[in-house]
């Protein structure tokens, strides 16, 4: 980032805090990028002729006579087909040893789509995972996170979903990714022969945390290029958005803002919504689907990060270890796909909605039976049967290692109903029972 000849170089800082430096400067625009002694920074406040810069990697060791140059533009990315197959850092610079790419310069974090120009999402995305396809079907143009404790294999599940989703492009936005996970993604994409349709923006645990703040916008700017300019279906993977939000709170704390719940900035909702709302189905056929990861602490979804996320995204896929079967499942209670009703029973078999609901209801009965058992009460015959059902349901459908098509999932559902229950106990619409019931 050497400064160009015509740029004015400032050499007198008036104020230094942990995260920011201030100086007297003229003709600077809000949000503009700058370089402070070789470190990337961004304008976060202007008061009179005082400009406050947030230095992404922190201010340790920055002297008052540091060299400051302004780049004259907000953060941006060069877009072209050359993005495909490449790995970049949070600033959009290659980290794979390859050359800088050529392309059109776009500001990241650009404007929102006019809601009247959106198309309603309507294309089912099949993943083979019944916990998703049966109970929480995904639709292209949707935005949905995995809610998972940090010891769960969320990145593996996400990689599976991505590779089975038949997207034209997959864009990975990695935030605070461990080096191992970074290499994991690289390897599975490579093994699948998919590298040429993947673009990655990665901030690892070795990089300064505040840099992460740029990653989602970088990934989504690339996504908009492929979805709008090329009419492609693009799948964006954002992992881990909890670490993104943590970076927001670091910044706001350092800037002495009044924190709201869980030390998060009061603007957390808007900050996250701006990112997730980039998911869209365009009338021209292009689409951006966002699958994200929000790690939880001890399964707590009331914490401000998952809470605000849940209010923004179109559902969530809650991963949980089921000790009965010793596998990770997509929890049918806490999970939800808000767009599923656009496709189930229409792009899938007519009995889909009914089978889905009945199975979850019976699974809930099993949970009640388990509570009874834990409290030392006798179980009824029905209770016993719900428990048997729940175990089979979990094993054959909810486990994340299931990989079958939706018709098979529905058939398995009817098989389980017929094996464990009477028709009245399952309580489905008569037409469906007449057609699909299996003794």
């Amino acid at each position: 980032m050497s400064s160009q000849a015509f740029q004015k170089v400032y050499t007198k800082l008036t104020n230094i805090t942990k995260a920011t430096v201030s100086l007297t400067a003229k003709d600077v625009g809000y949000d503009e990028m700058a370089v402070v002694n070789g470190r990337m920074a961004q304008v976060v406040k202007i008061v009179g002729d005082q400009v406050v810069l947030q230095v992404f990697s922190g201010t340790e060791g920055i002297p008052t006579n540091a060299e400051v140059t302004f780049l004259g533009n907000p953060p941006q990315l060069k877009v072209s087909d050359e993005l495909s197959g490449r790995f970049f850092n949070a600033y959009g610079h290659p980290i794979d040893g390859g050359p800088e790419i050529e392309g059109e310069i776009r500001e990241i974090g650009g404007p929102s789509v006019n809601p009247v120009r959106r198309e309603q999402p309507s294309q089912l995305i099949a993943t083979g995972i019944a916990g998703i396809d049966l109970n929480n079907s995904l639709v292209s143009g949707q935005k949905i996170p995995f809610f998972a404790d940090s010891d769960q294999p969320y990145n593996q599940v996400m990689a599976n979903v991505a590779l089975r989703a038949k997207a034209d492009k997959i864009i990975l936005g990695g935030m605070g990714l461990s080096n191992d996970d970074y290499l994991f993604f690289k390897q599975v994409f490579d093994n699948a022969g998919a590298l040429d349709r993947i673009v990655s923006f990665v901030n690892t645990t070795e990089d300064p945390p505040v840099e992460r703040l740029l990653v989602p916008d970088m990934a989504l700017t690339a996504a908009e290029y492929f979805a709008v300019d090329k009419d492609e279906s693009v799948l964006v993977l954002l992992t881990d958005m909890t670490l993104f939000a943590d970076a927001l709170s670091i910044v706001s704390n350092r800037m002495d803002q009044i924190p709201s719940k869980d030390s998060m900035p009061g603007s957390l909702y808007s900050d996250l919504a701006r990112i997730y709302e980039k998911a869209v189905q365009f009338p021209s056929g292009g689409s951006i689907t966002i699958v994200a990861v929000t790690t939880l602490s001890g399964g707590d979804i009331t914490h401000a990060i998952p809470d605000n996320t849940g209010y923004i995204t179109e559902g969530q896929l809650f991963l949980r270890r089921d000790t009965d079967i010793g596998k990770v499942i997509v929890d049918p209670f806490r999970s939800l796909s808000r767009l599923k009703q656009l496709v189930i029973g229409e792009q899938t078999r007519e009995d889909h909605p009914q089978v889905m609901n009945a199975a979850v209801r019976l699974y809930a009965d099993a949970a009640n039976a388990r509570t009874k058992l834990d409290n030392g009460f006798d179980l009824t015959d029905y209770d016993e049967r719900t428990l048997d059902f729940a175990k089979a349901y979990s094993e054959k459908l909810l486990a994340i290692d299931v990989n079958v098509d939706t018709d098979t999932m529905l058939d398995i559902g009817w098989e389980l109903f017929g094996k464990h229950f009477s028709k009245a106990e399952v309580g489905l619409k008569k037409e469906m029972v007449d057609k699909y019931w299996k003794e």
Binding site: Y30, N114, I258, K278, Y311, R361, F377, G427
Partner: protein, 597 residues
């Protein structure tokens, strides 16, 4: 705030969308200004003034904005433009017509006209030359989507005016003069079909605002039967994410018997608005047979649109509602979610470094919410006609905790509480309105009780209370069963529990995505409630508790099949007949009768 020379200013500070402007003249609180940024003009609102500095919140992104940019103050507060042609429109929070904007992406500084200036409306005068009028009086009317749209004396006029001239029946654009009126001092005012009004000031052209007394039918059983809302009433729907706030609001806006429906999508998902765009032009208004979109206006300020405009959006919606109410129409106003509006206030208050209240919300949050809700209501207009705004807002409590400030303050302002429960949503008992905690204060109003008695029959209220008792008693029984075990309680407890389940499954639960079940007319609600209460009144005899559950599950299944069938259709009647037979199996009387034979 009227002034002759426009005040101007220069940008001197920028912190996100809060901009500090050095001004050269008088500025008013909430005055609108435009900041020049290259070719763009960014709209902003004054929210604080100290000395010669105005703090303005910009309704757009401030990216790239520089100190020294010029600012023009407009001399008025944020206004909406009112006139025929607002129905079926999709506006943003500042009433820009979204369909008129070019391109796929929203452009900064793109402001579009809310009305169509070319369209001709066929005007019919309602008053004659010489008549005395005051603000809000109906001079004439045009037909908007086959609904009478009254052209009113501008709201901002004070005192009595005399009509000097009024045009005859004919076709006019909104800007053409349709009347000239004159005040006592001989100052004349030219009136056309358009007027402007500041959104934060209530339109008060009515002479009286009685307590609401008439039920507003929503087709949602959980509301109409158990906790009805009234014409002109207020209600709120708090619930953690995913519990069904939006689905419930959409259901109400599709089915409610209103003349006009205004939906403010305030800081929520864009795809949910798209759903309305897509569905409402296809769906029929159950009362008129016309398309739903014809009675609907959408104010869309989704979560990715500028935060300051989010705050404005609910006021824009309310003002449009007041305008239609003043013409004697029944308006239903929905805002999803009022919490996002409160958050917008919080973001700005924090940027202004104001002393924060609980959870960093502004100290006056309670007053702001109450003031807003108080703009709803049923009114008698000066011509003795009536109009109403029924307002239902959703609240998105942080962490699902109903003790947070927005929920608590809304509880003080709204008369109906439809609390959505996570447990009910988790077990897919939709709509997840908690039957025990939720309430409608209107049920206690003698005015409403009287009108219910007249329209729903003498026993209606008793039946409703009875249903509530059964639900409550079922909950108690359930708790006992959980503590003592199935065998540890008398069989009667199981009956109590299952009678509550019966009401829950048949009356409360309603599938918003089923063509027939989605909306239940009052007549059908009454029929089914009586049916279910009859069952609850029947004495049954069971050998053991397992029989109770099995039996009631079969009853529930049968009644649900009825809910899914066309009312009084052959199918419906067949299910009903089978139900009667089932009932005889365990009913005590019939067994005795059988023995007697």
């Amino acid at each position: 705030m009227e002034k002759n020379d426009k005040t101007t200013g220069t940008v001197s500070g920028i912190i996100a969308n809060l901009v500090v402007v050095d001004v050269d003249g008088p500025v008013g609180q909430n005055e609108i200004c435009f900041i020049a940024h290259g070719k763009e003009r960014l709209m902003a609102e004054v929210i604080k003034v100290t000395g010669d500095q105005a703090y303005v919140q910009v309704f757009e992104s401030t990216r790239g904005l520089r100190p020294g940019s010029k600012v023009d103050f407009e001399g008025h507060m944020l206004e909406v433009t009112l006139g025929p042609g607002m129905l079926s429109r999709n506006y943003d929070g500042l009433q820009n017509d979204l369909d008129k904007m070019e391109g796929v992406f929203l452009k900064r500084g793109d402001y579009t006209d809310p009305l169509n200036r070319e369209q001709k409306w066929s005007f019919k005068p309602l008053l004659e030359k010489g008549a005395e009028v005051i603000a809000g009086d109906w001079l004439g009317e045009v037909e908007e989507n086959q609904m009478p749209h009254r052209i009113m004396v501008p709201f901002k006029l004070e005192g009595v005016y005399t009509i000097k001239s009024i045009v005859g029946e004919g076709e006019y654009t909104v800007d053409e003069e349709i009347a000239v009126i004159e005040d006592k001092d001989g100052n004349s005012v030219s009136v056309n079909m358009v007027q402007k009004w500041p959104v934060k000031v209530p339109i008060k052209t009515h002479k009286e605002k009685p307590r609401p007394f008439k039920l507003l039918e929503t087709g949602v059983r959980c509301i109409d039967t158990l906790n009805p809302i009234t014409e002109g009433g207020t209600g709120f729907i708090p619930g953690p994410f995913g519990t069904g706030k939006t689905v419930l609001q959409h259901a109400i806006s599709k089915q409610a018997e209103a003349d006009i429906v205004i939906i403010a999508a305030c800081g929520e998902r864009a795809n949910e608005v798209v759903e309305i765009f897509k569905e409402f032009p296809e769906l029929d208004d159950p009362r008129t047979g016309r398309k739903l979109i014809e009675r609907t206006t959408i104010i869309a300020n989704t979560s990715n649109m500028p935060v300051a405009a989010r705050e404005a959006s609910v006021y824009t919606a309310m003002t449009l509602g007041e305008y239609y109410r003043a013409m004697g129409l029944k308006v239903l106003l929905m805002a999803d979610s009022t919490s996002r509006w409160a958050q917008a206030l919080r973001e700005m208050s924090n940027r202004l470094e104001e002393l924060p209240g609980p959870d960093a919300f502004p100290m006056d949050l309670s007053a702001i919410i109450s003031n807003f809700y108080s703009r709803a209501g049923y009114v008698y207009l000066n011509n003795d006609k009536t109009g109403s705004i029924t307002f239902i807002g959703t609240v998105s409590p942080a962490g699902g905790n109903l003790k947070e400030p927005v929920t608590e303050n809304t509880r003080k302002a709204a008369r109906c509480f439809y609390g959505l429960s996570q447990d009910r949503a988790d077990s897919k008992r939709y709509p997840a309105i908690d039957p025990i905690d939720s309430y409608s204060k209107y049920l206690e109003y003698p005015e409403l009780q009287k009108s219910l008695q007249k329209n729903m029959g003498e026993h209606w209220l008793d039946n409703v209370l009875k249903a509530k008792d059964i639900l409550f008693s079922g909950k108690e029984a359930d708790e006992q069963i959980n503590i003592l075990g199935d065998d540890g309680v008398p069989i009667d407890f199981h009956q109590r529990f299952w009678k509550a389940e019966l009401i829950d499954f048949v009356v409360l639960q309603q599938d918003a995505f089923d063509k027939i079940d989605a909306s239940t007319p009052l007549e059908r609600q009454k029929y089914m409630l009586e049916k279910v209460l009859n069952i609850a009144d029947t004495a049954f005899e069971f050998k053991n508790f397992e029989q109770v559950g099995d039996f009631f599950k079969r009853l529930i299944n049968q009644l649900k099949q009825m809910n899914y069938s066309e009312f009084e259709s052959e199918k419906f009647k067949t299910f009903e007949k089978e139900l009667e037979e089932m009932l005889r199996e365990f009913a005590v009387e019939t067994k005795e009768e059988a023995q007697a034979v």
